[in-house]
Amino acid sequence: MDHGLSVSSWALAVLQALLYAALSPLLVGWIRKVKARLQNRRGAPMLQPYRDLYKLLGKEARVAHTASPLFLAAPYVVFVATWLAAATVPVVLLDQPASSIADIIVLVGLLALARFFLALAGMDVGTAFGGMGSSREMLISALAEPAMLMAVFTLAVSAHTTNVASVIDYQLSVGLALRPSLLFAFGGLALVAIAETGRIPVDNPATHLELTMIHEAMILEYSGRYLALMEWAAQIKLALYGVLIANIFFPWGVAQSFAPPALGLAAVAILLKLALLGAALAVAETVLAKMRLFRAPAFLQLALLLALIGLLSHVILESGT
């Protein structure tokens, strides 16, 4: 890659990261809209999450007396770590520098860092709700992380790399093939994504005052711009998982070259894929009920099992001698 191209591809990488921040509220708005239509409501306009963020950014931030400096630093750490993790997943262009310096294990690590600070912030003020939310979040993530890594390893052993861009490149080069390992890895990763982004069978994103909430319980003490950053980070995380699943398992349309028509096609393709995934999530959230918290381990065990069977079926059925 010559120097001129590398500068412009860095520019595109930065643009891609900005795209995450700019479009993730739209994805949330779309999911809420589809869900509202499925429940026979008209629902808020799709741009409502932007208005919420704008309103929160303009409001005065109140902080509890018992809060330590960590409480104020946490939203920034969470936002930056999540955003950085998102920047490593290619949206429209495959061959970009940000994804070549970080592989999928770094991505899991960055998300774990964000989660660690989120849980600390939940416990910092010392309210009962925050502590409960943090302990639940840690319960879920301790079980979700092995499942996610196992699904990632399943992909990695087929593609012989843990780099997201190379995995997508491999998927594109294989073309249409029915592979059992991919099917199971998809199932496992989808379940992990649902658990990690706090969607319905595990956590209810629409609730603010319920004893069973997880994510909302941790950020209950935040207000103003801190709350805006936390909400925004959660939306970016949802978009990250959406793009990850869409581009790894349905990689068609991702631009492999730095040409405007290919990039345009890729942008349309990823928007379409995210719209479909979002609609599927909304349907799933409409037909499913939230599980009891103590059934969440069984849910995540299923995710781990799917990923494990994916890995085993790769070894048994796909490699051959």
Partner: protein, 225 residues
């Protein structure tokens, strides 16, 4: 030979075999009796789909017949009989508390790895494209056995036994391009007879110990101690 060099239909056979393996895990984890029967019916349908697709992929028309027989007996007839039995025994709402579900699952995963290791030298001899399925079918047999060990409820144990038979059928199809028709009909008939006998046994067990919890059989003594 890697999976990517195979035609799409043969890839579909391998995918179906992997889904059969998954259905074994599903069967192992069900706590409601009725949903266990449903899971078994799905496994039967999947096992029947393997020879059907293999017939289409490998141009082996006699496999269509064994697929049809399997579908009729294992996906429809036996689940229907079990359903009727469960209704007669008034166990429709029965929920069995599984013992150590996570541990049982992990043991099942170990069994899959073990059967892969066991079959490895045989696979290296090279048969048809279905040879890799032999390990899967052995794993299905072993998981059925594990289900018989880990469950207390007699009906669930019978389902484990039947799922072992599913694994054996899968092994026969994948290792040998299908059995002769006489053998196949004989096995199918055997399974049916076994099912009828099990039904009689269920009633006998319940009459003598007033429950289908097999653990209670350990506590039978001739006189009160």
């Amino acid at each position: 030979m890697s999976i990517l060099e195979l035609p799409l239909l043969q890839q579909l056979v391998l995918v179906l075999a992997a889904v059969v393996l998954f259905s074994s895990f599903v069967l192992l984890a069900q706590s409601r009796l009725v949903s266990t029967i449903h899971a078994f019916a799905w496994q039967g349908a999947l096992v029947a789909a393997v020879p059907a697709v293999a017939a289409a992929a490998g141009d082996l028309p006699h496999l269509y017949f064994s697929a049809l027989v399997t579908l009729l007996i294992k996906a429809l007839l036996i689940p229907w009989m079990l359903h009727r039995l469960v209704r007669h025994l008034e166990l429709e709402r029965h929920i069995e508390s599984l013992r150590l579900p996570a541990l049982v699952n992990m043991v099942a995963v170990v069994l899959v790895i073990f059967s892969y290791w066991l079959v490895l030298p045989m696979v290296q001899q090279g048969l048809t494209f279905t040879r890799n399925i032999v390990a899967i079918s052995l794993a299905v047999v072993l998981i059925g056995l594990l289900m018989m060990v880990s469950r207390r409820q007699a009906v669930a144990q019978v389902l484990g036994f039947m799922s072992m038979e599913n694994g054996l059928f899968l092994a026969a199809v994948s290792a040998t391009r299908g059995m002769p028709l006489v053998v196949e009909l004989g096995v199918a008939f055997d399974v049916l007879v076994a099912m009828v006998l099990f039904g009689v046994f269920f009633f006998q067990i319940r009459e003598s110990i007033d429950s289908l919890d097999v653990d209670r059989l350990n506590r039978l003594t001739e006189s009160d101690r």
